[in-house]
Symmetry: C2
Subunit: 200 residues, 2 copies
């Protein structure tokens, strides 16, 4: 049986602290058809983050240069830092028929959905706002003011959840991952991406 497939651009988003990064990493580790691209960021690395693996940590000047060259699929100011998704790796992946997943803040996700309307967008929700607060505080890296800012942002981001194709509540990580995996597996079977050739 012969078949060809078009590449899928999967956008995983959700409020800060919801666990989208964990779901993103689990998907990349378990689904060998998924590739990723490294975003650019102007903020300082968090403990354990590695330049070129978690983000390309760059100066404001380098970031400005990328913006000028139209090098970003989207970029946004989030919690005081600037983040950008480089356009070139996404274009290359789609041309090769590879699947690519982006872990991206809601502001950036909405921009990607506008510029790449064929993307598959998944918004990760917390089971409750009090649980989201608990997770943000549990990080131990956020000042109380930053926690309040992130929670206020989260309310606005959740209000726009219907802009996304799919919603997944991250209450239990394994259950949330199973739902995300179903979405990925289903979208691989979309007739607009999947071209099996039935031999006579």
């Amino acid at each position: 049986m012969r078949e060809t497939r078009k590449g899928m651009l999967l956008v995983i988003s959700g409020p800060s602290g919801v666990g989208k990064g964990t779901l993103f990493k689990k998907l990349l580790a378990q689904d060998e058809t998924m590739t990723f691209s490294v975003s650019y960021a102007t903020r300082d690395p968090r403990p354990g983050e590695v330049d070129g693996r978690d983000y390309h940590f760059v100066t404001n000047e380098v970031f400005d240069e990328m913006v000028k060259k139209n090098g970003f699929l989207e970029y946004a100011v989030v919690h005081g830092g600037r983040y950008g998704t480089p356009v070139q790796p996404v274009i290359e992946a789609m041309e090769k028929g590879l699947n690519m997943v982006l872990d991206i803040d809601p502001q950036g996700a909405l921009n990607v959905m506008k510029s790449m309307p064929d993307c598959v967008s998944v918004f990760i929700l917390p089971p409750s706002m009090s649980e989201l607060r608990r997770r943000l505080e549990g990080r131990g890296t956020e000042t109380p003011e930053k926690v309040e800012t992130r929670l206020a942002n989260a309310r606005g981001e959740i209000a726009l959840k219907d802009k996304y194709d799919y919603l997944v509540i991250n209450d239990d990580l394994d259950a949330a991952y199973e739902q995300l995996k179903s979405i990925v597996d289903a979208e691989k079977q979309r007739s607009k991406r999947y071209f099996p050739i039935i031999e006579d």
Copy 2:
């Protein structure tokens, strides 16, 4: 956590002999959120088929009466018999927020997709035409001429596969079922159907 969901109408179709009935029954047995409606048919029951369970087997006169009353979501002539999907059970299920699955021939499926554009449509494909022939002959209920007619129809039906949302190849039954289940599970998470309420 509170949530509400809108009902999903799932249409499973594919050429005769591809195994869509088996996948349909497995889904109904394993997914308790799925309901079904019994179609009307003017053909004779096959061995083992029960009136009111597999089909409402009716006379041409009763069928004509249903057509006159606009009682069918779709109806079609397939292989010499007439088949119709009653509209009332579908409307009732959607109003109650229940999921409903229809096992329906491709001619009828295309009609349902037109009248219910929000439905989720899945087309089941054989791995090859020779395998489809083997399955039709293996039924033991079809004359050689009927097999040829069904294979000729299958070619035309497969040519329209891109009209469906999703494609699943039924080579191995368990693998095909897993793909179908992923599609159903993913579609339950669609933001247009799924309305979680995140408490503050």
